[in-house]
Symmetry: C2
Subunit: 363 residues, 2 copies
């Protein structure tokens, strides 16, 4: 959120508007091309090991009223974002939608929030500026960090130096909406442990796992927000820490791992910024369900469909995942992280995690 980033974002936005101007100046009908954002246009980038958009593009052109209206909305939004950056303000996606009601042209108002959200994504892709650098915030983030790390966060009220064990309560350090305002000062961490559920996160913190093993415990809180994925990637890239992901043992949780490691369809244009392809999956693995005789629930029909579609998903086409997913389809069961408590409250921190992490070469 330095002013350099701000001016660069502003410039790229103005370039977009200038492009429309030039098109009109040349007597052309203004248009904007963007990659098609559907599952069929997602390709796996073998070099970067993340999902990115393919070659297919769609064009928004002013040659129809519908298309002209879309471009008009884009221009109003560009002006709004440019002002926002100029004034060093920020806003939520929802505020943008409502704010359009105050614009002087009725034609430029959004008809629903899907439309304004999609336009922001379009502008991200076309301008190659991230939403965070437009100063657009999501509604909620809520994820938090606990571990041996001293950081400095640039806030609107000045810089704050915070140690994520010594200067925080039991609840930990709250990840801000734009984690690029964080600078890492000092750390004694050996690895990152990203945890799906709040209950398990609290268990690890209560048992002092972060302290004993010098782990940075990141609470994902279900499908992780962009801020959480970005910060996790920065832990890996800038601090050189191995990243591990600990979730429930069901197909939906494997997708949480997938979104940390490989990105998601919705944000494939940001995979290189958000995804940590080196992230490793701890579990709960289907083989853990068998080996540790965990309490289970039967797979539902939608679980089975999700597992079968994961077998087709390039992110899960490895020997490891094929074996695990086929085992799970075979046993027809799933388990939650907290099911490990069936062996006692300390089993996860004293037995399960140390065993798995040393198998994985992390501990």
């Amino acid at each position: 959120m330095s002013s350099d980033t701000d001016s660069e974002a502003q410039e790229k936005l103005i370039d977009l508007a200038a492009e429309f101007y030039d098109q009109m100046d040349r007597g052309e009908i203004p248009e904007m091309s963007i990659p098609t954002r559907t599952k069929s246009n997602i390709v796996f980038d073998e070099d970067e090991d993340v999902w990115v958009y393919g070659e297919r593009e769609s064009t928004r052109s002013a040659n129809s009223i519908r298309g002209a209206r879309k471009l008009l909305k884009a221009i109003y939004t560009i002006e709004f974002l440019d002002n926002q950056l100029e004034e060093d303000r920020s806003s939520t996606l929802r505020e943008l939608y409502y704010l359009s009601e105050s614009w002087d042209s009725n034609e430029a108002q959004f008809s629903d929030q899907d439309e304004s959200n999609q336009l922001i994504e379009d502008l991200e892709i076309v301008s190659d500026v991230r939403r965070e650098d437009f100063h657009m915030r999501p509604e909620e983030s809520g994820a938090k960090v606990m571990g041996p790390l001293l950081l400095r966060e640039q806030t609107r009220r000045g810089d704050r130096e915070i140690h994520c064990q010594k200067d925080v309560g039991q609840g930990g350090y709250q990840i801000p909406n734009n984690p690029d305002t964080i600078e890492f000062l000092e750390n004694d961490a050996e690895f990152v442990l990203a945890v799906e559920t709040g209950g398990m996160r609290d268990r690890l913190v209560e048992n002092g796992f972060d302290d004993e093993h010098d782990a940075i415990v990141v609470h994902l809180g279900g499908q992780p927000a962009r801020a959480t994925r970005r910060l996790t990637k920065r832990f890996h890239d800038e601090l050189g820490l191995p990243v591990t992901v600990f979730t429930d043992g069901d197909p939906w949780s494997y997708r949480i791992y997938g979104s940390v490691a490989y990105g998601s369809i919705k944000s494939a244009h940001l995979s290189e910024y958000l995804a940590t392809p080196e992230a490793k999956f701890i579990g709960v693995q289907p083989e853990d369900i068998v080996e540790y005789d965990l309490p289970t629930d039967p797979l539902s029909d939608s679980d089975i469909n999700a597992l079968e579609s994961e077998l087709e998903d390039p992110r899960f086409q490895t020997d490891y995942w094929e074996e695990q997913i086929e085992l799970q389809l075979d046993i027809g069961k799933k388990s939650e992280q907290q099911a490990l408590a069936s062996h006692g409250l300390d089993f996860v921190t004293e037995t399960y995690l140390p065993e798995r992490l040393s198998e994985m070469g992390v501990l």
Copy 2:
């Protein structure tokens, strides 16, 4: 979470078990009576201004296999809680459910989590000890605080002194699962502003509302967790601060206000511990929708039903609420907090809140 509280909780648990013992010793079939927890057994306590349970009780008796099994589970759970307090540990409701799989009697295992959750509520009511004092945690809390307040939180790793503006990032201070571990040291606050949505909370913090008006901004995050309601009540009772609640303008959000102010059916046995009857509703009020010409959505059938049932709800039987709810049914519309952005991003902090708070006598 002082050891006094712990020993008192332990004693009350042991008393329950001793009661079963005495019943058997006298040759009686052991039993346990608890208030019926249904809407028909909720009464409004005029003195305390909160909802409490009525006179109706149901009895769990060992005179049937089903009843005997329930008491057996209660005894195993009492033993588990007693050990947990002895060792100064804590656990989640979900862990308790899974942990029962490790108990030596199969008959004592819970068949689903509803059963273990309900048993913990039963034990809360019968023993008059709160879940937090049993050291039982919920799965998630996630709410956070920003404002001119210095506090000390007792954590498992020692005490932490935290100023909720100067020592936290943009994300604020994360409320711990048991806010009774917090001691208030110093504050310059004039009032508490509890906010439903994360987007609005971030807007207030970005606009420096907490700083300019010496407000403690509490993020409710939808239907607030017990920890959030408890801390809000403590701000009122111990610091003498007026509490105001700012939500969306729809029937579900009025219930969020209702649960802060008057308690909920599920936790009516804790109303005196969790509810802040003096809490005042800021809005979005149906009259604001009209007065400020806010963007709206039409009321759905379930919205209309919810409003009609609120007209029957003792918590909303005041002239004020009747007028507002009837106005809303009349205009057939609802608005969100963030709809205030249709008048610009500063409208809420520069116009709407100052106007409302001075009408209410808070500012």
